[in-house]
C-alpha cells in the first residue's frame, strides 16, 4: 500500500515567554499509522498536539493536513476537517447524559457531511451514537449523567466522543492515565479497532502501552524531535535512553 502523508508540520514552534515549548518541529504522519509521541515531562508533547489541533496558535511554522495548509484555521474548523482531540484532563459535559456527550460529537460529524443548515436526522444521530457507545462498552450507561461515572469510564466517554466525530486523525492525550490494568488492556483493543478506520496519534507515558500499540514512535525532548522510528529502533536508541534516564 502506498503511504500517504496525512499530517505534516514544518518548523513548527511555540514560545511561552522565554520558553520554547515546541522548537522547530518537522513532523510527518502517514495515513493508517498508530503514532506514539513520548518524551520526558515538559518535553512539549501536549503543546505539540495542541498546535496540531488548533487549541494553541503557533509562534512560527506551518501545519498541513491532507496536503492543505491549516495553520490559520480555528480549532472548530480543524475538527470539521477531521482532526479530533481528546483531552488529557477529562473534559466531558458532566451534567449531560453520556448519550448527549457522544451525540454532540456525532451530530458535528453529520453536520460536516450534510453541509451547513441541513436538517439532521435524529435517528441517524442516535444510531451512530449507540455504535460509538457499544464500541467503548458504555451503552448500558447511556442515560447516566456523565459526571457521575467512575474515572475510567469518563475517559472512555472522551474516546467515544472522539469516535463520534468520525475523525481522520484522532489525537489521544495520555488516554490511559489513571486507568487500572484490566481497563488498559481493554483500551489497547479499543485503539486497535479505532485504527482500522482512523490514523491515531497518542501521547503516552505507559511504555508497555506504547511498545504494544505504536507502529512508529516520535521522541520529543525540550521541544525538539530527538528520535523517530519503530518501537524496536527507539528501544535501542542510546540518545533516548540518555534523555529518559539521564545517564
Amino acid at each position: 500500500m502506498a503511504t500517504v502523508t496525512l499530517l505534516e508540520t514544518n518548523g513548527l514552534s511555540r514560545r511561552f515567554g522565554g520558553l520554547k515549548a515546541v522548537d522547530g518541529v518537522d513532523f510527518r504522519l502517514d495515513r493508517g499509522e498508530i503514532r506514539a509521541v513520548i518524551g520526558p515531562n515538559g518535553a512539549g508533547k501536549t503543546t505539540f498536539v495542541s498546535l496540531v489541533a488548533g487549541r494553541v496558535p503557533p509562534s512560527e511554522g506551518s501545519i498541513r493536513f491532507e496536503g492543505e495548509d491549516v495553520t490559520r484555521l480555528p480549532a472548530h474548523a480543524r475538527v470539521r476537517r477531521g482532526i479530533a482531540y481528546t483531552f488529557q484532563i477529562t473534559s466531558i459535559f458532566g451534567n449531560l447524559s453520556v448519550f448527549d456527550n457522544v451525540a454532540l460529537a456525532v451530530q458535528s460529524a453529520l453536520a460536516k457531511e450534510a453541509g451547513f443548515g441541513a436538517r439532521l436526522d435524529e435517528a441517524e444521530i442516535r444510531g451512530r451514537t449507540m455504535t460509538a457507545l457499544d464500541l467503548t462498552g458504555l451503552a448500558a450507561r447511556a442515560d447516566q449523567p456523565a459526571g457521575t461515572l467512575a474515572y475510567g469510564h469518563q475517559r472512555l466517554v472522551e474516546v467515544a466522543m472522539g469516535l463520534g466525530l468520525a475523525p481522520k486523525l484522532l489525537i489521544l492525550d495520555e488516554p490511559t492515565q489513571g486507568l487500572s490494568d484490566p481497563e488498559i488492556a481493554d483500551f489497547i483493543g479499543l485503539v486497535r479497532t479505532i485504527a482500522e478506520t482512523a490514523t491515531v496519534m497518542l501521547i503516552e507515558h505507559n511504555m508497555a502501552v506504547v511498545m504494544d500499540l505504536a507502529t512508529r514512535i516520535t521522541v520529543l525532548d525540550r521541544g525538539r524531535i530527538l528520535a523517530e522510528g519503530t518501537p524496536a529502533e527507539i528501544r535501542a536508541d542510546a540518545r533516548v535512553q540518555h534523555a529518559y534516564l539521564g545517564t
Binding site: A53, R55, P74, A75, H76, A77, V79, R80, Y85, F87, S91, I92, F93, G94, N95, L96, S97, F99, D100, A103, L104, A105, Q107, S108, A109, A111, K112, L120, E122, I125, D143, P145, M161, L165
Partner: protein, 328 residues
C-alpha cells in the same frame, strides 16, 4: 452548579412532554370561559410578558448567556410596531411584522457586537446597549413622546382580514391572540431544545471550550440564540403595544431587562414552562401584595429570598431534579 441538562429526546418520554405542554395551553384556553373579566385581562398581560420571558430563557437558561439588556429587544418590538402605527397609520398586521423585523435587526446587531465578550463583560455590554436604547427613546421625545408614550387609536387596531373585521379592543380576541403568541414561543422553544441545535446550545452553556473542540463554531451558535431570543422578545413587545394600544419609554428601562431574568429564575431556568409559571406567580404576587400594602416589593423580596433558599433552581427546575427528569 448549573441547571441539569435537557434530557435526550426519547420516544415515549418525548410524547409525555408534548402532552404536558399542550395540556397547559389547553388549560389557558379554557380559563377564559371561567375567569372574571379582570383576571382574564391580567392573564392576557401575563401571557405576553411570559412570551418575553420564554424568549429570554432561550438565551439565559439554555445557552447560559446572561443578558441584562433584553428591554432593548422588547422595546424594539414595541416601538417597531407602535411608531409606524402611530405616525403612518399602519394597521396592526403590518405593524406587528415591523416590530418583529425591528427586533430581529437589533438582536443581530447587538449580538454580533456583544458576543465578542463573555461572562460579566457580556452582561455589561448588553446593559449598556439597552440603556442607550432607553435614553434614545427619551431623547427623540418628539417622535416617541418619551415617558408619556404613544397611545394608538382604535382605527389602527381595527382591520379587515379575509373579509372579517378584526377589532383588537375586544377582550376575548386579545386573550386568544396573546395565548397564540405564547403557544408559538413555547413551540419554538420545544423544537429548538429537542433538535440538535438545542444540544449544541446546552453544550455551550456547560463547557464552551469543549464544544469548540467538537467542531462547533460557538460564536455562530450563540448568535443564532441571541437573534431567536431577541426576536421572540420583540414579538412580545410588538403584541403588547398593539393589544394594549400603548408604547412608552418605561418599557425600555432597566426594569424590563431585570423582570424576565427574575421570572425565569423563579419558574426555573432551562425549563420550557418555567418562565411562564414565574411570570404568572410574580404578576399575581405583586397584584395581591399591593392590595394590602404599598410596600409590596418587600413581599416580593421575601419570596425571592425563600426561592433562593428552597428552590435554588427555580420551581420547575427543582421539580425536574427531584421528580420529573423528563421535563424539557
Amino acid at each position: 452548579m448549573s441547571a441539569p441538562a435537557i434530557a435526550a429526546p426519547r420516544k415515549g418520554l418525548a410524547d409525555k412532554a408534548i402532552l404536558l405542554h399542550v395540556g397547559v395551553l389547553a388549560l389557558l384556553l379554557a380559563a377564559q370561559f371561567v375567569l372574571p373579566e379582570y383576571h382574564a385581562l391580567s392573564l392576557t398581560r401575563v401571557m405576553l410578558l411570559a412570551t418575553f420571558a420564554v424568549g429570554y430563557n432561550l438565551l439565559f437558561g439554555y445557552t447560559g448567556l446572561l443578558s441584562l439588556g433584553h428591554a432593548l429587544f422588547f422595546a424594539a418590538g414595541l416601538y417597531g410596531a407602535a411608531l409606524p402605527a402611530y405616525h403612518f397609520g399602519w394597521t396592526a398586521p403590518p405593524a406587528f411584522l415591523a416590530g418583529i423585523a425591528a427586533g430581529f435587526l437589533v438582536a443581530l446587531t447587538v449580538g454580533a457586537v456583544a458576543l465578542r465578550t463573555t461572562g460579566v463583560a457580556f452582561m455589561i455590554v448588553t446593559l449598556m446597549f439597552a440603556q442607550a436604547g432607553y435614553l434614545a427613546t427619551l431623547y427623540f421625545g418628539n417622535v416617541t413622546r418619551g415617558d408619556e408614550g404613544l397611545v394608538l387609536t382604535d382605527a389602527v387596531r381595527r382591520f379587515e382580514l379575509l373579509g372579517l373585521t378584526v377589532d383588537l379592543a375586544d377582550p376575548g380576541l386579545r386573550y386568544n391572540l396573546a395565548l397564540a403568541l405564547l403557544a408559538a414561543a413555547i413551540a419554538i422553544t420545544l423544537v429548538v431544545v429537542r433538535r440538535p441545535i438545542g444540544r449544541v446550545l446546552v453544550a455551550i452553556r456547560e463547557n464552551e471550550a469543549r464544544t469548540l473542540m467538537l467542531g462547533y463554531d460557538s460564536y455562530r451558535a450563540k448568535l443564532v440564540a441571541v437573534v431567536l431570543s431577541g426576536t421572540i422578545s420583540a414579538a412580545a413587545g410588538a403584541a403588547y403595544a398593539l393589544l394594549f394600544a400603548y408604547a412608552g419609554s418605561s418599557f425600555a428601562s432597566i426594569h424590563y431587562s431585570i423582570y424576565p431574568l427574575l421570572w425565569t429564575l423563579l419558574g426555573g431556568a432551562a425549563t420550557v414552562l418555567g418562565p411562564v409559571l414565574g411570570t404568572l406567580i410574580m404578576f399575581y404576587l405583586i397584584d395581591l401584595a399591593s392590595g394590602f400594602t404599598t410596600a409590596h416589593l418587600v413581599v416580593v423580596g421575601l419570596v425571592l429570598v425563600a426561592l433562593v433558599l428552597f428552590f435554588p433552581k427555580g420551581i420547575l427546575g427543582t421539580v425536574r431534579e427531584r421528580w420529573l427528569p423528563w421535563l424539557p
